[in-house]
Symmetry: C3
Subunit: 493 residues, 3 copies
Amino acid sequence: MTTRRVVATLIALMWPCCALAAGISSATSDCLECHRSTTPGAVADWERSRHAQVTLKEAMARPSRERRVSLSQTPKGLADVVIGCAECHNQNPRKHQDTFEHEGYKVHVVVTPKDCATCHPTEVKQYIQNLMSHAHGNLNKNPVYHDLMEFTNGVATYEDMKISYKKPDAQTSAESCNYCHGTKVEVKGTKARDTEFGEMAFPILGGWPNQGVGRINPDESMGSCTACHTRHQFSIQMARKPYTCAECHQGPDVPAYKVYMVSKHGNIFSSLGGQWNVEAVPWTVGKDFTAPTCAACHASLIVTEDGNVVAERTHRMNDRLPWRLFGLIYAHPHSKSPDTTIIKNKAGLALPTELTGEPMATYLIDAQEQGKRRKTMEKVCLACHHDGWVAGQWSRFENTIKTTNESTVAATKLIMAAWDTGVAKGLAEDDSIFNEAIEKKWVEHWLFFANSTRFSSAMAGADYGVFANGRWYMNKNIQEMADWLEFKRKKTK
Amino acid sequence: MTTRRVVATLIALMWPCCALAAGISSATSDCLECHRSTTPGAVADWERSRHAQVTLKEAMARPSRERRVSLSQTPKGLADVVIGCAECHNQNPRKHQDTFEHEGYKVHVVVTPKDCATCHPTEVKQYIQNLMSHAHGNLNKNPVYHDLMEFTNGVATYEDMKISYKKPDAQTSAESCNYCHGTKVEVKGTKARDTEFGEMAFPILGGWPNQGVGRINPDESMGSCTACHTRHQFSIQMARKPYTCAECHQGPDVPAYKVYMVSKHGNIFSSLGGQWNVEAVPWTVGKDFTAPTCAACHASLIVTEDGNVVAERTHRMNDRLPWRLFGLIYAHPHSKSPDTTIIKNKAGLALPTELTGEPMATYLIDAQEQGKRRKTMEKVCLACHHDGWVAGQWSRFENTIKTTNESTVAATKLIMAAWDTGVAKGLAEDDSIFNEAIEKKWVEHWLFFANSTRFSSAMAGADYGVFANGRWYMNKNIQEMADWLEFKRKKTK
Amino acid sequence: MTTRRVVATLIALMWPCCALAAGISSATSDCLECHRSTTPGAVADWERSRHAQVTLKEAMARPSRERRVSLSQTPKGLADVVIGCAECHNQNPRKHQDTFEHEGYKVHVVVTPKDCATCHPTEVKQYIQNLMSHAHGNLNKNPVYHDLMEFTNGVATYEDMKISYKKPDAQTSAESCNYCHGTKVEVKGTKARDTEFGEMAFPILGGWPNQGVGRINPDESMGSCTACHTRHQFSIQMARKPYTCAECHQGPDVPAYKVYMVSKHGNIFSSLGGQWNVEAVPWTVGKDFTAPTCAACHASLIVTEDGNVVAERTHRMNDRLPWRLFGLIYAHPHSKSPDTTIIKNKAGLALPTELTGEPMATYLIDAQEQGKRRKTMEKVCLACHHDGWVAGQWSRFENTIKTTNESTVAATKLIMAAWDTGVAKGLAEDDSIFNEAIEKKWVEHWLFFANSTRFSSAMAGADYGVFANGRWYMNKNIQEMADWLEFKRKKTK
């Protein structure tokens, strides 16, 4: 790399017109000329990337299992260049609402899955089927969840002995829920600005910055590949290391990373991962790595030293997951569609189960599909563990889905008792189910404690199922909800 | 290593009968033939291990301080082979209830301390005196603690305005408390299964999988060496790095890892540990490592560059600990026996103190033994710190034991007031002391907050003694317990 | 280095009088003679340090941007020696109350900023203007904060159905709040002690050990450079890595480290930081590191590959910070003076705002100074990000300052209602505002939840502004405070 870069830079400096020869397109070369000094960190980061070092032709010449691109034919003009600034930011200019004239080029700010699909079409196609790509709408356009967002992000005020909630502003939502779920990025106008190269005009973007997994882009695509494949190095090792997942999967509502890090797998990663080859494609179990990371179980192409495929690469993250564990009131089979706003339960709520737990089967994958997904995951487990180990693990996990759902039923009965006895206002009064103290306890029951317990079970992070937001808190919560009910009822009488 | 492995593999492939010559026993060679493809991850991991590279004779030939085995004489047949699959999984076949016929060998699934003792007898002998090896019984067979387990793991249900608790099922306990404390692994029968090599029969194990430190094994031994010496690489660096301890010592009930990681010691480990030699035996302070990990203070053989011994290796983890800090209601001198179920207080509870804090001296080490253990630990401190520093640290720590116990006395008086005034049911009513809201607050007082404060004091992780589950929460808890009492009493009247 | 050390040691052994020739002063050589065996860890650590390898003359000969010392002239006698034990511990003997006679030398235990200023005067001068150097007094001498300390660290007892608080003892405060804020280190006397070299006398120090950032030293200076520049390796990479900041900035009251670690920046550090050059001075963005650590944004000298300065080095940590986010009831412009005990609000409290949020402008930096500091920070952001990205980030952040302050107003109205209605005792009754349950909830509102939300906003750690101690908890807290008020008022009637 360094050599190529040095040569390219030297050639570019001496004969700018020849830059192409060394793999950097003349358009990218033009970008670099200024941006090397205006955004030096971004340029230096890109220079370390595979994008800066390998031409598309070279990338496509690799044996199929080792290939990091999935297109079948080289797009015109891209074969002999490395993937630089212009190859992404000037891609598909007419589709981009955020395209602007910039030093003779049509540039856009926000690189989107549609742009990435130029070289990675298979991954983008899978990703569109991924719940993540729909994360913006699944949260913001589901009335139940939208309501939860409002009473979480809106400021509660206190006047005349009464609490009321303001509507959350867009900036708050952008940096809280939608930081991960994705904002809607829109062009709001244009602004001229003095730069060291004279006055220039740039688009003003709403919902910006954002790299959320379900971002709605100015070309109408959904998602942001850089959520996991971090700019501008796009190193596969970042997507494979658990720290990337931790950005969105660490809080009490989804403690996957915390659980992983105290699991035996996480321990091996932390202790010995420095000696692994986290760059290799395909990824050989035992040789390249000795314990799974998040990606190994959920996404990566895994092979054995003999070249057998343990698991195919997928960017539809629930391909190996029969159960949806988190985010919703009860764990349940995954929904068929990545767009969960289409779901309605019998009570008319946009939820995959009744409030009392019964799943809405028509919208959810069936037992056969669940079995298939479980088998796909088990193949990963079995690369290191024997059959009895894996069977024992699954049996406990599915038992825990059952017991945590059962505990949530108890919490739900308590909240319903609060509504029925009039000490809290619920659906019948057309009131939010997220704005009173006991309702917030109910939310924590499933969103924090039942989830934590299930993650702990799924990935063997023991205390997250006990004292670290686990079963201890579920039972304590039931007691405290009942006490609250008792005090309020006494008062009401 | 690589050379030996390559040669061994080549020889094994060409002349299977000669495998022994290169160090791999013919039995292990037979295992590898299939398991290289059925569990490739496990085999590849083992191939990186010292077990796969060094024969017992070579291991015993090292100077005594550098030796990683503790036997005095080579067991028959083991001297010239590396320690492969068969050397462990075929060891002591008649003692193992889980032994089964497998391709002409008597194999067992669960490798136990008794098996490890073949080469590491001293470590296993020490470990039997370790509280950890008794962790299963100390939790499950202590009526007080068994009760706490029940009301933590059992699902609380709510019917007719009343809460009741189900008994927790075995699968739940296995993945929660007993994940760390150890399950009882039992053979439940045999199951035939189709494999790629035809139908084979395997034992069905209850309580499996498990690697808990106090696991009850099918050969009746207690413990699991792989809890810390992770399969199948068994790298000493894993046991020495804090991530291994974090598997069980990170939750709010025992936040040792969290405290360590924000301490100056943990900071040095995180910042500079990548440059240390974490494999060396013995472990030379200053040369091999520049700040202690958990193992350095509590277990490892530490020497100086001059070859002086700072601390002898121990697998009885409280050899350097005068005080038992966590798990119980009050901090107290360590118990004499690692089996704490034999303890009874005057009130008849299986606790080392009265509910009001007085220690049951007959069961506990005396001041002289405490002094000896403190001195042993101080030698480790003094390898880097001057006398005044170390004395100041100990003085504060023992003061904090006193003040946190004092705070627990206040919480206990509150719970007793609840029992006395009839707003909660306690021992007098033969009711559990862990099933009501105020009782759960009382448990958090000592199990979370007092413990966190003590760990913070012991290892200098400041905020874990203040706002991160420390003193702040103890005082808040006292206020809230008193409020609960007031509200309930009002209601009762 | 190794070579120099080996040579120095050999020379020292053969011709002790010549030790100086190899860079080690004869005084340090005398120290090493015994301390190599009495505190081997400390000596070995120092031997890895730049202090042990580079003479002051060599350090001063570096080009100005690469220099790690800031003095303009070599102090007498120090030019040709490396910086060993004696150069620090024998520095300024007459200023040090803790100086004692030791083997013919005047040695002091506690090395202070005044000692460090011998070679690093600019850094020490900046640090005196840093809030951190005043951390002891700002906490202990502010009556409001002193009161918070008392009711946090003092043991709450329960007698005759009543709670009362003991005064916290000095040892408790030293290991809790003052662990980070700094103790007052005082000489309490002298104690003779048997050592392997015969009886020796050492000073007895109160408030020792301590490395808090605002430590009051026996030479009357304030601060401890080793809080961040850890003894005895003093590696700049430790000060630059986030683990050092985590020692004091990780708890719920100041979760900066937690937020950073789940941010994209923290993720890049965790995933790729192992490949960075964390030792280089100056620190080149993109080349040496590809994402900022705490130090990069707040303290380090950052340059571009072209040699342009992105940010000057500073040890006044708020040079790039317009807003004070944490520790106080409301976020507000930074105070002009690092000594915040001089501030009084109109109500007479030592606070930079009224209880109801209005800032005390006379004590605080004005909009112009805020703008200047913001620009200084923005230059760091702009090294990688474009203008629109940075503007969007700041706009959200300042919006969040507004909304979190607004939420704290609501919590404050609730606490005032409690005081007004007589269900809690406050300022009017001359009672502490930190000792009742509802007051503790009020404290958590701003100290935990509003702070967490602001940090999350500042550094893009999404869930710390939502479910991980963020907005979710602010709104829940408002509900629970109102419920508490309602229950208490009912009781009072």
